[in-house]
């Protein structure tokens, strides 16, 4: 039946919703295979030490134990971009929680008991506590062997230091602009590393079949990345590796790249290939596996009296912890996006990924953009204060638009979103003009803050996606892609795109919800807010391919040229005589003439996409085109603070984002609300606390708090639609972006409430209280 209503812009119910709310979805964590063995890890109790001895004798002797392994057993170094990390620590441990030994046993309980029987002798080494400390020439070298590490060309490690990567941006002449400036402001900002706290802890089940095929079921955003990295680092032909990725219980970047898979494989291989399940406990998921990077940053802005920003000098020091993982690329992305969505003609920036003795860092929703945004938005508030300008107007004056150039001198094209409209709408949603600071009573203040943000996917220049489409007897479709469901609702979005293209109901489109790398087509990674865009383009291309094939088959029985045919609403018909046509059921598996003759055969549509016009960036100047499509948006928040004790409530959070086109309003809103909620947690509490030896004190959820039901403010989500011409039905990415501006907006509001510019995170009641007390003595005000 033809569907008159468009599938685009409709809140089609998400396909995985009913199973998820009933608790029926099977995540990788739920899988138990026959004959499966269980692994358990002994992790480091110290942050930096030479391993003097490991005694595994008693553990190995325990009944039910198949093997006990240490770093010596696995002489490999694995890394996403920079091969710096042994699967189990070799010679040294570099962070609290690093895996030191692994046990494989018949059951989980035996494995855990055996781990208790392993004893490790450590000679502790001096610890590196922060990126700035790591840059001091007297700091201990965390990776003295860095010169020997294999890395991709885009990553620029500096052997002999603790710098694993440096991105340099040199645009215009910042020095001259600073000399000519009417005003300059400078701020230093910082926050500690944290964790994603995804619902499903990371898990991988690896087996090596008798024919040598390596099969790994894993909770991953990046099945093809796992395959490629394992092939490269462990010397397995890529075709001998099969990765199976089902629905993931929350990714947030923490399951992109490579996680437990290499160690699970090595353990399976070491016990004869039986399936071995390596699953993180919650505590291991927080500290042993990577989390969010910390940051220390310094921003200087030069401006004219009217608020026009003329130059920026920026330094970002990303705390990558003991290993580089994704942090090197996070630093790179933060470098080429360093100014935030503002038109600044002269920019000098150095964005570094720096080793410390903290748990190591990987991608985290926003991918460096939260960090840069916080630094820039706080600096803009410093500038607004200095110039006595309204923070909204200061931002509006400097907003980036089509025709302006990014820090990497990439000129934004006609597809650029309308950020000023987003900013005005976000400000209106929190009633900015009604007063940005209101004294409710003697000790209660309501204050507001705004921020602008941008984010493009931080991806390789050749980032790809692909799709196949096949048909069932009822002419419904099976769509196979390499995209992973991580909670974002991608399969529903892809089904809507396919249905729209064919003029059918979304329910007629079945998106296969498991990625198996030997039968699903290649897809870079489900990350970077690019999956609806890229896998969407691939699906549309596959539909177009299938439609062409349908027309070819139908042309004969309909006795007309292919180009006269149209496929829509479940039929193929003559465009100008729609009554003459065939139902797709009679074509998609081959057409059968009344006498029994058949033509065609099952139709399989193939579609692919690869990013357009991207380049690397120059190692000395950062100039190039690294960003495919920039999603722009603005956020506004309102908080209420009791200045006597710093207790606060977040009252309203508004986000206005130019997404090109909204494909599914409810799913889009869900993504943005989730991102804003995560941003509240990121700003106010989700940070590791370290002791004096850099051991994590709050590695458990009773101590590491996330925002719970009952604490949420009113969320206001507003979309602006400036078409992204190359996006599927004009859409651009929106998955991460809602978090990016939250720390800046919240810090702005809190600063306004207590009368002091807050420069670090997390913003706790204690921090607010102590700053408010300082302020009451100094009588400053924050505009």
């Amino acid at each position: 039946m033809p569907v008159s209503m468009s599938q685009i812009g409709r809140s089609v119910r998400r396909k995985d919703g009913p199973d998820k709310v009933r608790g029926r979805v099977r995540y990788t964590d739920d899988i138990r295979l026959p004959g499966m063995l269980h692994a358990a890890l002994l992790t480091s109790a110290v942050a930096h030490a030479r391993i003097r001895s490991i005694d595994i004798e008693a553990a190995a002797a325990l009944s039910g134990v198949h093997g006990v392994f240490t770093g010596d057993h696995f002489p490999f170094r694995v890394g996403l971009y920079l091969g710096d990390k042994p699967p189990l620590a070799q010679e040294k441990v570099r962070y609290y929680g690093e895996p030191v030994a692994a046990v494989v046993a018949d059951d989980e309980r035996t494995a855990l008991e055996a781990v208790r029987l392993i004893s490790v002798g450590y000679d502790e080494l001096p610890v590196v506590r922060s990126p700035r400390e790591a840059l001091d020439h007297t700091a201990p070298l965390i990776h003295p062997g860095m010169a020997d590490y294999v890395h991709i060309p885009a990553i620029l490690p500096e052997p002999g230091s603790n710098v694993s990567h440096r991105t340099r941006i040199r645009k215009g002449d910042a020095e001259a602009a600073f000399r000519a400036a009417d005003v300059t402001v400078e701020g230093e900002f910082e926050f500690p590393p944290g964790d994603h706290v995804a619902m499903e802890p990371r898990v991988a089940i690896a087996e090596v079949r008798s024919d040598g095929q390596v099969v790994i079921r894993t909770s991953t955003q990046s099945p093809y990345g796992v395959r490629a990295i394992m092939s490269r680092c462990l010397d397995i032909p890529a075709g001998r590796i099969t990765i199976i990725a089902g629905p993931v219980g929350g990714g947030f970047g923490g399951k992109a790249g490579i996680q437990l898979e290499p160690l699970a494989y090595l353990l399976s291989r070491s016990v004869g290939g039986q399936p071995v399940r390596l699953a993180n406990t919650r505590e291991q998921d927080m500290v042993t596996s990577p989390g969010a990077p910390g940051l220390q940053s310094r921003v200087r802005l030069a401006a004219r009296k009217d608020g026009t920003i003329t130059a920026a000098q920026i330094e970002f020091l990303f705390d990558s912890g003991g290993y580089a993982d994704y942090a090197v690329n996070v630093a790179r992305a933060a470098g080429y996006a360093c100014t935030g969505p503002y038109n600044i003609p002269n920019v000098t920036a150095d964005s570094l990924s720096v080793y410390t003795n903290h748990p190591f860092a990987t991608a985290y929703r926003g991918f460096g953009h939260i960090e840069l945004s916080y630094s820039i938005e706080r600096s803009l508030d410093l500038l607004a204060e200095e110039l006595q300008l309204d923070p909204v107007e200061l931002r509006a004056r400097n907003i980036i638009r089509a025709g302006h150039a990014t820090p990497s001198s990439d000129v934004l094209d006609e597809n650029t979103g309308d950020l000023e409209r987003c900013l005005r709408r976000a400000a209106a949603a929190i009633e900015w003009d009604a007063g940005s600071r209101v004294q409710v009573d003697a000790h209660t203040v309501r204050a507001k803050g705004v921020s602008c943000y941008w984010k493009a996917p931080a991806i390789p220049t050749f980032t790809d996606a692909a799709a196949t489409v096949s048909f069932n007897e009822d002419a419904s479709l099976n769509v196979v892609t390499g995209a992973v469901e991580i909670g974002q609702g991608i399969f529903t979005g892809l089904a809507q795109l396919a249905a729209e293209r064919l003029g059918i109901d979304t329910g007629q489109v079945h998106v296969v919800d498991e990625v198996i790398t030997d039968r699903s087509p290649h897809d870079w990674t489900t990350a970077a807010s690019r999956t609806l865009f890229m896998a969407g383009r691939a699906v549309l291309s596959a539909i177009d391919d299938a439609v062409a094939q349908i027309k070819r088959v139908a042309a004969a029985p309909l006795r007309c040229p292919e180009e006269d045919l149209e496929v829509h609403g479940g039929r193929v018909f003559i465009r100008d005589v729609p009554s003459q046509g065939l139902p797709l059921e009679e074509v998609v598996l081959g057409y059968v003439y009344p006498n029994g003759n058949a033509i065609g055969g099952p139709i399989i549509g193939r579609g692919r996409y690869i990013a357009r016009h991207l380049t690397g960036i120059d190692p000395d100047t950062g100039q190039g085109r690294p960003g495919l499509e920039w999603t722009l948006g603005a956020e506004g928040v309102e908080v209420e603070v009791d200045v006597r004790d710093g207790r606060y409530r977040v009252l309203r959070c508004a986000c206005a984002m130019d997404v090109g086109k909204v494909i599914n309003p409810e799913l889009a809103r869900g993504q943005v609300v989730g991102a804003m909620a995560m941003g509240i947690g990121y700003t106010t509490r989700e940070a590791f606390v370290f002791d004096s030896r850099e051991r994590v004190l709050n590695e458990r959820l009773r101590d590491f708090k996330i925002v719970r039901y009952g604490e949420h403010p009113r969320y206001i989500v507003d979309f602006v639609e400036t078409p992204q011409g190359d996006g599927p039905y004009d859409a651009r990415g929106l998955g991460e972006q809602g978090i990016v501006g939250m720390p800046g907006a919240l810090a702005s509001a809190f600063s306004r409430a207590v009368g002091v510019q807050l420069l670090r995170l997390p913003i706790t009641p204690e921090y607010l209280w102590s700053e408010a007390h300082k302020a009451s003595g100094a009588s400053r005000s924050v505009r």
Partner: protein, 277 residues
């Protein structure tokens, strides 16, 4: 997962529980009384505090009720915090119990577990401290009842093998004007930076504090300041200055912030109790 074997003993009476504990102890094993189990289970998961024998008290009827007779309210040790909250006869206790953890966890935590368990704050005891409460304990030497003033110092002074049977307060104080406040680092479901229970008894105002310390504290000499002259702020300062114990500082908050919360709470309590009297 709890990766070791335990012997589980379900006791039907206090005597049976005490005997089971003694037997295990005599066998060279490490016994523990099990009530709500929330702490024992989470600690066991992390391989901390591994008892060999768990003696479950939850099925002992005598420990499972709240009764009032002869001018005394008795709360059995295995009454859950949710049940205490809903019982409502001791309003201050309902409020203090209701501030601990979250609802689903309070369905398991018992008052005895909160008072005798591994976690330091023991907030459910605060109302009993300000209301001159007593505790009944049972052990190898039989059953005894003593005032908390005698039996409590940072923790219940139980002898090996003793278990808490009940906590009690004089009925006369159940309706006395009271005041309660709890403050956390940020999220409400968290350990307290401050919990304060105050009671306006006929003899004067009393206050017991936890969170600011890693244990409940009622300091009678310091309470003199609460009932003296001066503004509420001055009396609060004198009270806090009179507390002999150092204020806690940990990863959740520094001592300075805890002290500020405490000072404000004491002052607010004085003001509001006076306004109500």
């Amino acid at each position: 997962m709890i990766a070791y074997d335990v012997v589980y003993v379900r006791a039907d009476s206090v005597d049976e529980a005490v005997t089971a504990w003694q037997q295990a102890h005599a066998d060279g094993l490490k016994p523990a009384y099990l009530s709500g189990g929330t702490e024992l289970l989470t600690a066991a998961r992390e391989n901390r505090n591994r008892p060999d024998v768990l003696v479950d008290l939850k099925r002992i009827g005598a420990l499972r009720s709240v009764t009032e007779s002869e001018g005394t309210l008795r709360v059995g040790a295995c009454v859950t915090l949710t049940e205490v909250v809903e019982d409502g006869r001791f309003g201050l206790l309902s409020r203090a119990a209701g501030g601990i953890a979250d609802r689903s966890v309070r369905n398991s935590i018992t008052i005895g577990g909160n008072v005798c368990g591994m976690l330091p704050y023991r907030e459910a005891l605060l109302p009993f401290l300000v209301a001159d409460g007593s505790a009944t304990v049972a052990g190898p030497d039989g059953t005894r009842s003593e005032t908390l003033e005698q039996l409590f110092s940072k923790r219940l002074l139980l002898k090996p093998g003793e278990l808490l049977v009940s906590l009690s307060v004089p009925s006369a104080l159940l309706r006395a004007a009271c005041w309660y406040r709890r403050r956390e680092r940020d999220a409400r479901v968290d350990y307290p930076l401050l919990t304060l229970c105050a009671l306006a008894a006929p003899g004067g105002r009393r206050m017991a504090v936890s969170g600011a310390f890693a244990y409940p504290l009622r300091d009678r000499p310091a309470e003199a300041a609460l009932n003296g002259n001066g503004s509420p702020g001055e009396r609060a300062a004198a009270f806090v200055a009179g507390l002999p114990n150092a204020i806690r500082s940990d990863m959740r908050a520094g001592a300075g912030y805890r002290r500020a919360l405490l000072l404000r709470a004491v002052e607010d309590a004085i003001i509001e109790l006076e306004a109500g009297s």
